[in-house]
Symmetry: C2
Subunit: 407 residues, 2 copies
């Protein structure tokens, strides 16, 4: 049974991680900086070494293409991103691109031809750390954003994406093309696989997201002379809301998640009853209808808490990102691939968004998750085991081969 070369995959990841390496063993490779250019250049060189034709589109997405034998067959693509968070790790994004490269190298070594062409994509600016929005390259490719809109975005120094593409030499002209399928391998960025001692996460889709800003207006009052029953304590109201957000997320079905990650209290003095709180709510769910029910329940809680605590609560939706369901046949190919190798596997949904979420809008899509240490990512201590990375790559290999078809 065909297998990838685990050592070569690992070595490619480690070589790539030298570019923008940080003292603590992480990576700082912000989109379209000079270190990102070095990473891109290395990937392009490796694509050429593997006999692939390289194309770059208008937003700087890089496509390495291994020809197929079927003239009209749409390419089967794999990919992810090479940019990192400011204090990022070696695997988030890089793994999906290097896994695609390793698969092409494996096919080359084995002299295997496929009917459909195989492509390896490196999407521009997935992280959104230097330029907003996140998942910019796949978003433009999938038609979520206009190219001109994306090119006009600027970083904190006022440098636009257009300028950064030019200065790094990645302002390409390739035209987006239809894909027969898209696969993305990625570290889980969560604790489930590790905690359940599972090697492969069969990703069913990605959670939808609805984000809210909440502003609570009560009244400042002296903690000493103000009796409890006359208070309008904005922090008490906020605390009740935090508990409701967690109750909703733990009682609703379909992978419901709810988080209050941000809270700011005013005047924030130990002997003053807080008159003002600003906070956020992040709701996620695999089903849009359930997500909507969570929001309705949140609004009921807001009304009740406002009345109980005699405060005003304003709530504003700032992000709405519908759930994404991956292609059942591709998902099934990930599952059967895991079984073929005897890897433990479990169905999972991605709590975070990935380039695959946008690609799912224009092509049949699936993802392969592998465990990462402690579920930690977006952190220099991000880590993954070579054997897990290899396993994910093997599953991806067979899923891609199945889709691309024998020559």
């Amino acid at each position: 049974m065909l297998q990838i070369n685990p050592d070569r995959l690992w070595q490619s990841l480690m070589d790539l991680a030298c570019i923008g390496a940080t003292d603590k063993g992480g990576v700082r490779r912000l989109t379209l900086t000079d270190v990102d250019r070095q990473g891109r250049d290395l990937f392009v060189r490796w694509c050429g070494d593997a006999g692939m034709a390289v194309a770059v589109d208008g937003i700087g997405n890089i496509f390495g293409r291994r020809a197929g034998t079927g003239e009209d067959a749409l390419p089967v693509a794999m990919g992810s991103h090479l940019d990192s968070q400011p204090s990022g790790g070696k695997f988030d994004g890089a793994y999906g691109v290097m896994a695609g490269l390793e698969i092409v190298r494996t096919l080359n070594d084995a002299g295997i031809r496929t009917r459909a062409p195989i492509e390896v994509a490196a999407w521009t600016n997935e992280e959104g750390s230097r330029f907003v929005p996140t998942m910019m390259g796949s978003g433009v490719y999938a038609g979520v954003y206009e190219l001109d809109y994306a090119l006009a975005q600027t970083d904190v120094d006022g440098i636009s994406v257009r300028e950064a593409l030019k200065s790094t030499g990645y302002a390409g002209a390739a035209i987006p093309h239809a894909l027969g399928a898209y696969f993305e391998a990625h570290i889980e960025q969560g604790p489930v696989l590790e905690q359940t001692k599972t090697t492969i996460g069969v990703v069913l889709g990605a959670l939808g997201q609805r984000w809210f800003d909440v502003a609570i207006a009560g009244q400042d009052a002296h903690a000493g002379p103000t009796p409890m029953e006359t208070r309008k304590d904005a922090l008490l109201a906020a605390s009740r809301l935090v508990i409701e957000v967690n109750r909703i997320a733990t009682t609703f079905p379909d992978y419901a998640r709810g988080t209050v990650g941000f809270m700011q209290v005013k005047p924030n003095s130990r002997n003053v009853v807080p008159g003002e709180v600003r906070m956020t709510v992040d709701f996620r769910n695999a089903k849009d209808a359930t997500l909507a029910s969570m929001v309705e329940e949140l609004q009921r809680c807001v009304a009740r808490i406002a009345a109980d605590c005699r405060v005003e609560i304003g709530i504003k939706e700032v992000v709405y990102f519908p759930p994404s369901e991956f292609a059942p046949d591709l998902v099934e190919s990930v599952r059967t691939g895991s079984e073929k190798f005897g890897y433990s596997h479990r169905d999972i949904v991605s709590g975070a968004a990935h380039d695959a979420v946008y690609m799912a809008r224009i092509a049949p899509t699936a993802m392969v998750f592998v465990p990462c240490e402690g579920g930690i990512s977006h952190n220099e201590f991000e880590n993954a085991r070579p054997e897990d990375l290899a396993a994910g790559c093997n599953v991806l290999l067979h899923a891609v081969l199945g889709r691309a078809g024998a020559a």
Copy 2:
């Protein structure tokens, strides 16, 4: 029936409020600054005009003394403070001192002699805004702080109390002396009297205070990929604690109050489960035993929440200030004084600390509260009605007369 001169009392307050007046109608008269010196100088001049002998002790407390006829009778003192918060009001502190002065003027006008001497005290640095600790002058007088310790305290510019006393000319040498009684008139600084349309608050004592710093350590995690059941959400734990603090304060007797006024969340990012929260707890109660029970209940809650949320919670007591009970006979004289004038009155406890709290440790003590607008103080919009201030002063006059005795 002898009454004070309401217009003269009001005018004295308004004249004093010109010193350090702010644009918004408040007062900024920080301890031992030049404006505080001007306020002190005016008070000293007014004491002299009223025939009082003036003495200043080592911490700068000013005592105006009207002689009594009884050679051995201990003085009956009234007072409060002339310093203000950075953005303070016209009445907090100033009212207690001006009320004492008005009573001496009233006795002078009526040609009334008393057996015991009558003193009007202006205590140094009650607010603690420039120098810490608060209630410094009365604290030194009552033996809570050593004089040398207080003199060595410095402001943000490194200027010591000792230097500030010298530069303002208020480094005195008078020896603290025993008092037969101490009365303090003050605005309520809370909403109870106004909301219940009551003119006089008969103050039974001051709430004890126990303050805590709380540190909650959970674990940062991505809001998306981290299932609810694996989280260690420090903000969820903090929110549950806020609710328990409020539950304890609303269910325990004896004027229980509980406030979380300060909360700081880390990393405070909308899509990251918070790994760390720092917060405070401020508990107050009229009875020390009940205050202790509140703290025990808090500790039980902390243990339960830490276990439920799988976080670590550290709790450290940073202030302990026992409840203060005023002298029953003096309190009764305030109550009967209110009735004599037909003023509405109700028993109340002071939620905040005052100079009277320290004085109660060395002399029979009572306080008279009058309403303030909206319960607001420590604010330039602090306000009180002339008729209420006059009523409080009348009640004080008769309480003092009763205690000082006829000549």
